[in-house]
Every structure is written in structure tokens, then in C-alpha cells.
């Protein structure tokens, strides 16, 4: 990760990149109330560099209303997956941007109302007619008032009404396909004097200066990551000079810098940011060259360690190769290397990992620890569309996972281990609580995924209310805790004889314990009850779903052309160690 390149770089790079044709392309549209040259070039290059193939559509200058309201518009033909609507205060308020206080006090609420409804109308029409996510920028709070120091003492002041418009919009779209991007976050991060250049504004109605377009587009990338499901799940951390100042093996427990002094504070702040991400569902792991006993003592006993041993899902403190450790962490946590971020202060380690494991995101951590906390707060790679209950409970789940692993290592016979686990699987029809999670699973699950079809929330919701589909999910728990909703299947009822498995997946944390067999059993039982004779499924190979490759065959499906077929009069093996609870 480097500091931001300038716009010239993106404009030129955009001319040279060629889509790799990795299948489905992400369709990104830009609509705006000002000049937005340079946005589409920048986002194409950024996507390309992250391995996302995209194509873009840029609406003509200030045509956003027509594009959304007129069903013959280019936007409708384009069929976007993500649409960015860049609004701005000057445009929305028009003359009132300058003359707000000439409006009689009593007339002001009506104006707020009109403005809010104008924007809502566009958003709602969009939601009705497009499958795309719509990201709308909130309005910038002006940094000037003719009332000067009296602005804040004035009722229904200009600032107050803009806050009100923003809040109304935020409240209207808490849970929908519309996302409000807090433009004031961008302004406060970089400063209006930087992002707004009067010369460019007067010359070409450019409202985000060319110098800051790459940084603005970077803010939007969070949505791109979330929608394309390529989010990072796990942060792997070095210890010495990464989580604390100094080297434990040389400085000792009492002399490492992790306390109330300038250097120590920078590490504490960094740890607090990591802890907050961990509570939100980001997995933490350690990869450090150290004597295990020295380093673990700090983690267990140092009073200023914000991160405790239980916050780490996997700990590798040894003298092994860092790349080997990273691979082992990926294996033990059952996640892809491409969902990992690596923090290490040593530039040689950074380079080594970057070279050896290009899919791991290696953070370009500088020598100066005062930058660490800021670096992590500027990362967009952790964004997901919706934080589900599973996310916030993930820490506890991985702790359970660690304990499962310990039991597995202790019990020599795998079947005995499974029996001791007391696994319970609850099968549920999709409902409003589970639909966001089901969508998230289809977007994120790579390994045990027979078809790897990615579905947004509204698609899952449409399937679940359709008479031609069955959408169910499984919640898995055992004696070490609740794993949450970790598996799902979508069945297409083709006709009275045949069902087709559209989607069948299980989170990699759970696979290999018989839950996948239980899920297939459910489908077959259900099919029998409905008088269905055949169940057909496809295995669509990807770079990652090898673990599911032989699944159909193992369960007795027979290959017919590209399909695997199961005749429901046959018996299917059913794991005995799992208790099934049906909530239909």
C-alpha cells in the first residue's frame, strides 16, 4: 500500500489497462451535479489493481434526474451494480446557498422539506427500478456564514438546515439499497481549502479539485470492496515494534514501550483501533519471530496490552519463516490468503511476504509508530455491506474454534472427536433476519461452495418469497459455542419431477464435520415429501472450491453430462453424530 498517486497517473494508466475477462464485470455508474472527469478513470485503475474487473458509465453533466427518472436513459441500458450520485450543497440549495437568510423564518421548514423530498424521490425511484446499490453523497456543511459568530445562535440557520437534510436522508435509508456517504467525513479529513479549488470551480464547475479526486475515489472504494465481496477478513500482526515499541527479547518485559509515554501511547492507540475492528468481526492473528514464552508473557500479563490473548484467533510465535507461518494461519483459520492483511514494521519482511504471497495485502508500515493508528483508520479494505450478528460474534466463534482444535488434537479418533462435539444443526427457512447473512455467505464463501453464485440481499429476498425457490440456512452450534448461520442452499423447483441445486455452500470454519451431509439430507427429504424424483446439481469449479469437488460423488450423485443427479428413491448416508432441529 502506497500513498495516493496523483490524477495524472490514473488518467494515463486508465488508457493502458485491459480487462482480464475474469467473468462477471462489476458495472459502476457515476451521476453528478458537477463536473466529474477523472472519477471513472481512477476507479477503473483502482479496481484493476485490486483484481476487480469493472466497466463504467458516466452520465452527462448534471443529467442525474433525467437518467434516473427517464426509463429510456443510458443508465437503464447500462444496468449498473453500483451507482454513485455525487450531489453538492451549492447545487441543491441553488441561490439559497448565498441568500438563505432572505427566506422568512416561517418559510424555512417548507424549503427543507422540499429539498429532502426531491432527493428522496430520486432515491426511491432508483430503488424501485434498479437492482443497483445507490451511494449518495451527503451535503457539505458550509464553512462560512454571513451571520459569522451568530450562525450557531440562529434558529433554522443555514448550517442547521443542511444538518437536518443530511439527517433526514440518513434516517430514511438506514436499511435499503441506498447508502448515504458522509461527504463531510471527506471534507474534515482533507480540508475544504484543499478539496475545493475556486479556479477549477470557476473554469469548469469542478467541485472536487483534480488533486483530490484520487483520494475521493479511494473513499468510494469501500463500497466497491463490499459489493464485490473481496473484503479482508483477518489482520496478521508482528509483535516487536508493531504491537509494542522495542524488542522483547532484548529490552525485556519492563522496558518495552507500551505505556504512558509518547511512543507507548502510539502503540496503545494502534491496539485500541485493532480491538475495535476485532469486536466488529475482523479476525486477528500473530506472526512473530520470538521466543514464545517471552512474547506470550507480554500478551498475557502486560497491564497496557489492549489486545488480550483471546482476541487472537491464531498465534504463531516461533522462529519459523514468516511466509510459512502465514500459510499455516490461513490453513488453521480456513481462510484464503487473499483475505489477509499483514502488518510488520520490518521493510524486509514486508517485501519478502509481498514477493512470496502476492495475494496477501502487505501494509507499507513506516518506521514511525505514530502513523500506525492513522494507517489502519484509512483502510477501506475491511468494508462490508452489512454488519451482521455473525460478524460481531466472530471473536467468540474463533475462540471456540481454537478450543475445538485443541480437543481435536487431544482425541486421536476423528469420529470420537465429532461425537464429543455435540453438534446441533438448526435448519431454518430464510427470513428477514437471516437474509442479509445468507447474501453475505454467498458473497464471501469460496471453498465449500458448489456453484459460487454471488447474490445481493434483495436477490436472496426475492428468491425466498418466490414459489419456485427454496432458500434455507443452517445454524450450527456445539459444546464450544454457537457458530451462527454458516451454511445455506437455494433450490430451484424446476418442475414436478426435478429440483435443481442453485446454490449450496458451507462456511469453511464448519466444513468436514458432517454438516454438509445433513444439509443435503434435508434437501432430499424435502424433495421426497414433495414427490420429486430427481435432484440435479452442478459443480462449477473456481480457483478456490476444490474442497467441494467430490461432494456429489461421495453422497451418491451420478454424473450426467455437466450435472450430478440423485434419484430420491435411493438412500443417502446420514451422519449420526449431529442432532438436527427443524424450524420451518
Amino acid at each position: 500500500m502506497k500513498n495516493e498517486e496523483n490524477l495524472a497517473y490514473f488518467l494515463n494508466e486508465a488508457k493502458t489497462i485491459k480487462p482480464r475477462d475474469l467473468g462477471k464485470k462489476l458495472r459502476i455508474a457515476f451521476l453528478a451535479s458537477s463536473t466529474i472527469n477523472g472519477f471513472e478513470e481512477t476507479i477503473r485503475v483502482k479496481c484493476f489493481q485490486k483484481g476487480i474487473d469493472c466497466i463504467t458509465y458516466v452520465a452527462d453533466y448534471n443529467q442525474y434526474n433525467q437518467e434516473i427518472l427517464n426509463q429510456d436513459s443510458g443508465l437503464y441500458q447500462f444496468k449498473p451494480d453500483i451507482t454513485f450520485l455525487i450531489l453538492d450543497t451549492r447545487h441543491i440549495l441553488g441561490e439559497l446557498f448565498f441568500s438563505w437568510y432572505s427566506i422568512p423564518y416561517d418559510d424555512r421548514p417548507k424549503i427543507i422539506d422540499t429539498k429532502v423530498r426531491e432527493i428522496q424521490n430520486i432515491c426511491n425511484t432508483f430503488q424501485k427500478n434498479f437492482d443497483s446499490k445507490l451511494i449518495v453523497t451527503s451535503l457539505q456543511i458550509p464553512n462560512y456564514s454571513p451571520y459569522g459568530i451568530n450562525e450557531e445562535r440562529t434558529m433554522r440557520s443555514q448550517k442547521e438546515i443542511i444538518y437536518e437534510i443530511n439527517n433526514e436522508l440518513i434516517k430514511s435509508y438506514k436499511s435499503s439499497n441506498v447508502f448515504i456517504y458522509d461527504f463531510n467525513e471527506f471534507v474534515s479529513k482533507f480540508g475544504e481549502k484543499n478539496i475545493f479549488n475556486f479556479k477549477q470551480f470557476f473554469s469548469g464547475d469542478i467541485k472536487i479539485s483534480t488533486e483530490y479526486i484520487p483520494r475521493f475515489v479511494n473513499e468510494l472504494m469501500g463500497y466497491v470492496y463490499a459489493i464485490s465481496g473481496i473484503t479482508k477478513k483477518c489482520i496478521v500482526l508482528d509483535l516487536d515494534n508493531t504491537l509494542w515499541g522495542g524488542v522483547i527479547g532484548e529490552d525485556g518485559f519492563d522496558n518495552i514501550k507500551l505505556g504512558d509515554n509518547p511512543i507507548g501511547r502510539s502503540f496503545i492507540e494502534f491496539q485500541k483501533r485493532l480491538l475495535a475492528l476485532n469486536k466488529r468481526g475482523i479476525i486477528l492473528a500473530i506472526n512473530s519471530k520470538n521466543n514464545f514464552d517471552d512474547a506470550i508473557e507480554v500478551i498475557q500479563k502486560h497491564p497496557n496490552m489492549m489486545l488480550k490473548e483471546d482476541n487472537f484467533a491464531c498465534v504463531k510465535i516461533n522462529w519459523d519463516d514468516k511466509v510459512v507461518n502465514l500459510q499455516k494461519i490461513a490453513e488453521e483459520l480456513n481462510i484464503g490468503l487473499d483475505s489477509m492483511v499483514f502488518f510488520d514494521d520490518d521493510p524486509i519482511n514486508q517485501e519478502y511476504v509481498r514477493e512470496s504471497l502476492p495475494s496477501v495485502l502487505v501494509v507499507d508500515l513506516p518506521k514511525d509508530s505514530s502513523q500506525y493508528a492513522q494507517i489502519i483508520t484509512e483502510m477501506k479494505e475491511f468494508d462490508i455491506l452489512k454488519i451482521t450478528e455473525e460478524d460481531t460474534k466472530r471473536g467468540a466463534m474463533y475462540l471456540g474454534q481454537k478450543k475445538r482444535k485443541e480437543l481435536e488434537n487431544k482425541v486421536s479418533d476423528f469420529n470420537e472427536f465429532l461425537k464429543q462435539m455435540n453438534i446441533e444443526v438448526s435448519v431454518q427457512k430464510a427470513n428477514s433476519f437471516s437474509i442479509p447473512r445468507i447474501s453475505q455467505l454467498t458473497l464471501k464463501t469460496n471453498q465449500f461452495n458448489l456453484t459460487t453464485k454471488r447474490y445481493q440481499e434483495e436477490e436472496v429476498s426475492n428468491f425466498s418469497s418466490s414459489n419456485d425457490k427454496i432458500v434455507e440456512c443452517v445454524q450450527v452450534s456445539d459444546k464450544f459455542g454457537d457458530n451462527g448461520i454458516t451454511g445455506t442452499y437455494i433450490i430451484e423447483k424446476k418442475n414436478n419431477e426435478e429440483w435443481i441445486i442453485d446454490t449450496f455452500l458451507l462456511s469453511c470454519r464448519i466444513m468436514g464435520r458432517g454438516v454438509e451431509e445433513i444439509m443435503m439430507n434435508q434437501i432430499i427429504e424435502k424433495a421426497k415429501l414433495s414427490g420429486i424424483k430427481r435432484i440435479k446439481g452442478e459443480f462449477i469449479p473456481t480457483a478456490k472450491n476444490k474442497p467441494a469437488e467430490n461432494f456429489y460423488e461421495e453422497l451418491g450423485f451420478k454424473k450426467e453430462n455437466e450435472f450430478w443427479v440423485f434419484n430420491t428413491d435411493k438412500k443417502i448416508k446420514k451422519p449420526e453424530h449431529i442432532k438436527v432441529i427443524k424450524n420451518e
Partner: protein, 78 residues
């Protein structure tokens, strides 16, 4: 000619610096468009630590005009 200026132009417009001279303008250089002109100005302002006035910007019709502004701002040829 100012070599550093030519390097910047070459980089921003992504053209070989041999294609640039004081008479270069949007008509005879297709890589020069109305938008990347602003990006060019950003780069020049940063690299030479100067700020163009709005009327100066509007009067830049060819590369030679930028060098005239340099003289006014006391930027030395490098």
C-alpha cells in the same frame, strides 16, 4: 525551453518530450484536453512552487505561454 517543465508535460500528457515545444497547443497535441490541462497545472504549481492566477490560466494557449508566466513569477529556467 525549460526542461523540467517539458518533463512534467511529457509525464502528464503521456507523450514523448520530443513532441513538445513552445508552440505545442491543444490543436496540435491530441493528448492535451481541457481536463488534463488542470492536472498539468496542479503538477506545475507543485513542482515549481507557484500559484497561477485565474486570468493567467485562461490565457495559456500554448506551452510558450507557461514559460512567459514563469518569467513573471521569477521561475528560473532549469
Amino acid at each position: 525551453m525549460n526542461e523540467k517543465l517539458y518533463q512534467i508535460i511529457s509525464k502528464v500528457f503521456n507523450v514523448d518530450s520530443s513532441k513538445i515545444n513552445d508552440e505545442t497547443n491543444p490543436e496540435n497535441l491530441e493528448e492535451w484536453d481541457s481536463f488534463n490541462f488542470y492536472v498539468l497545472l496542479d503538477e506545475i504549481e507543485n513542482e515549481f512552487d507557484i500559484k497561477f492566477d485565474l486570468d493567467e490560466i485562461l490565457n495559456i494557449k500554448k506551452i510558450g505561454d507557461i514559460e512567459k508566466i514563469f518569467v513573471k513569477h521569477g521561475v528560473k529556467a532549469e
